[in-house]
């Protein structure tokens, strides 16, 4: 049985429609107007234990809303949701015992008290047996390098330190499921890297199921084996990273560095009818579908006509790919007419 199972999961928010300024506020006070926003629109999602899922989408797509339903914070408007045998919002506290949450924008630590005190409070709240608490705390302190700021209040440590402490706090009770909502937001490369390594290790060694939302594609490549993309409340892609590349990033580009400018482009173009050629001075690039041509064929077609000094092949970048999905330049799902406008989706996340 899957650990997370959602069918037709939907969340609709009711938003006050106000005109700007004081007059608008007064008007709203007397004639209330509301607009319904579908933040999450009938999604089906099934996650098996041990998977690490990247949950992606542009701002306002419904990522956080989904996570908030999974954690039991929000009550779904309709649809069914079962997480490890429980309906999260009905058995919120039982659900909480089995999960860890890190919201990049917020901290679970108590602001004014030393980090270690927050951990001790978590120990009591989650009723973690003393021996396991001690062992976990020692391990995470070592792996995340928490020792240097353990006795400093959470409000006074740096963002990177706080995030590491938050991660430790979310995991002390050894949850089956870890939700990470933009865990690396605003962090420097070194901290990002240590957090990614840590999560990767967690998935490998403890078999923790991870669900991660992020805008940082480095997070995905380092941690996740599955990518779910949501846009305007609907899931538009669900599959492995390789699938995503195979299905939608078919293009590759070979860049040739030439000894002298080509005398004429015509013979080259004639040899590569289905490709997109671009010549600029001493460089020549050929964009091709890697399932139709092998890189060697392209080279073979180009070499006889020009003198090549060097060449390189560009792999499709996930980042570029997903950017194109967000911008609507690349449609992953069969297009279907919806009433949702991008504007309504942005408002729903806010």
């Amino acid at each position: 049985m899957p650990l997370i199972e959602a069918h037709g999961l939907t969340k609709q928010f009711r938003q006050a429609v106000k005109e700007p300024g004081l007059v608008g506020s007064l008007k709203h006070f007397f004639t209330r107007q509301y607009k319904d926003k579908l933040a999450v629109d009938h999604i089906d999602l099934s996650v098996e234990a041990g998977e690490s899922v990247a949950y992606l989408g542009p701002n306002g797509a419904g990522k956080s809303t989904t996570i908030k339903m999974l954690t039991g914070i929000l009550v779904p408007t309709s649809g069914s949701l079962i997480v490890d045998g429980l309906v999260p919002h009905e058995k919120r506290q039982q659900n909480a015992r089995k999960m860890g949450v890190v919201f990049g924008q917020r901290t679970q630590l108590w602001w004014d008290i030393p980090v270690i005190e927050s951990f001790n409070l978590a120990r009591d709240m989650y009723e973690i047996p003393a021996a396991r608490y001690k062992a976990n705390l020692a391990e995470f302190t070592e792996l995340l390098g928490l020792a240097e700021f353990m006795n400093i209040p959470a409000g006074k440590v740096s963002l990177g330190q706080r995030m590491r402490a938050d991660l430790c706090m979310a995991l002390l009770h050894e949850p089956k499921l870890l939700y990470l909502d933009e865990p690396t937001i605003g962090l420097d490369i070194a901290v990002k890297d240590s957090i990614r390594k840590f999560i990767h290790r967690l998935v490998e060694e403890r078999g923790t199921t991870v669900m991660l939302t992020t805008h940082d594609l480095g997070d995905i490549e380092d941690i996740c084996n599955r990518i779910v993309i949501i846009d305007s409340g609907k899931i538009i892609h669900d599959g492995g990273l390789a699938d995503l590349k195979d299905n939608y990033a078919r293009d590759r580009v070979i860049h040739f560095q030439l000894a002298r400018p080509p005398a004429s482009m015509e013979p080259i173009c004639a040899g590569l009818p289905a490709c997109d050629l671009h010549a600029d001075g001493l460089s020549l690039s050929v964009r091709f579908d890697r399932f139709e041509f092998a890189a060697g064929e392209i080279a073979a077609a180009v070499m006889p006509h020009v003198e090549v000094i060097d060449f390189r092949i560009d792999e499709p970048e996930v980042e570029d790919l997903i950017r194109r999905v967000y911008l609507g330049q690349l449609s992953l799902a069969a297009p279907e007419p919806t009433a949702d406008t991008p504007e309504s989706a942005v408002a729903a996340e806010a």
């Binding site: 956080s64 919002h89 506290q93 039982q94 909480a96 004014d112 008290i113 709240m125 989650y126 806010a350």
Partner: protein, 276 residues
């Protein structure tokens, strides 16, 4: 047997929740004490407020010997019960005043992802050391007024006194909790509703018989502040027609807490986790 086990489990749960409550509250206290200067200033200002309050009552009763058939000491007892319950509310349950802000900026999320009752977390969410002043002043006034109760202090009566004080405090905290839940409906960072209702408690500093029927109905039935001060005092002073109602105070307390928890839970379902 099964019932026995169920009761034992519930008791264990209640004990655990109480422990968690005091653990959270203890951390809040540490946090405040960390800013020592602030703490000292707070204590001094709280003390000054209480002294002014006491001087006010004293001045009033220099001029007005009794109000609507209620003597000076009876009114002092009502005052003291309002003070004490207010103090208990601030010192131990100040967290109810933080709810609207938590809900407004979405920080209530943090409470909901922990495996502890949100209501317990809300109640333990803050410490108002200024409540200490109310408790001390109120306690002193209560002790003096009790000395002027004409009845004999049997063990039963003493027990009832303790029950009445606990019930009165419970009613006040329940009212705070219930009104704090309005944050789930009214989305502003500082909702005025809890403060407004809180101020209605001022009515209960005087015998309710001096008010119109509408006000009486409000403080007896709608928002039962009368059970915080008026009815318990009537019972302790054996005021014929009112004292029997004073015995209902513990029941009213249970009812208020039950309603407050229910309202809070209904509100919680509406929580929309705004912000990011």
């Amino acid at each position: 047997m099964a019932v026995k086990v169920a009761i034992a489990t519930r008791l264990r749960r209640a004990r655990w929740l109480t422990y968690i409550y005091f653990r959270c509250l203890g951390q809040q206290m540490k946090a405040i004490l960390a800013y020592e200067a602030d703490f000292v200033i707070l204590l001094i200002s709280a003390g000054l407020v209480q002294i002014t309050g006491f001087l006010f009552i004293w001045t009033v009763f220099q001029r007005i010997p009794d109000i609507n058939g209620w003597t000076f000491w009876q009114v002092v007892m009502m005052y003291s019960l309002i003070f004490i319950t207010e103090g208990v509310g601030s010192l131990f349950f100040e967290g109810t005043w933080r709810v609207s802000r938590l809900v407004y900026n979405g920080n209530f999320d943090q409470i909901l992802v922990r495996p502890v009752s949100p209501i317990v977390q809300v109640l333990a969410g803050a410490v108002g050391f200024n409540g200490l002043g109310n408790i001390v002043t109120g306690g002193a006034l209560l002790a003096i007024s009790l000395g002027n109760v004409p009845a004999q202090w049997t063990p039963g009566r003493l027990l009832m006194l303790v029950i009445l004080i606990i019930s009165a405090a419970t009613i006040r905290v329940a009212i705070n909790l219930a009104t704090s839940a309005c944050a789930f409906w009214i989305k502003t960072p500082w909702s005025m509703v809890p403060m407004f209702v809180h101020q209605l408690g001022e009515f209960a500093k005087y015998p309710i018989t001096i008010y119109s029927m509408a006000v009486q109905a409000m403080v007896v039935v709608a928002i039962p502040f009368a059970f915080v001060s008026f009815f318990p005092t009537a019972y302790l002073f054996n005021m014929e027609s009112w004292s029997a109602i004073g015995l209902l105070t513990p029941l009213v307390a249970v009812y208020c807490m039950f309603m407050a928890v229910w309202i809070f839970r209904v509100g919680l379902r509406r929580y929309e986790s705004t912000g990011h």
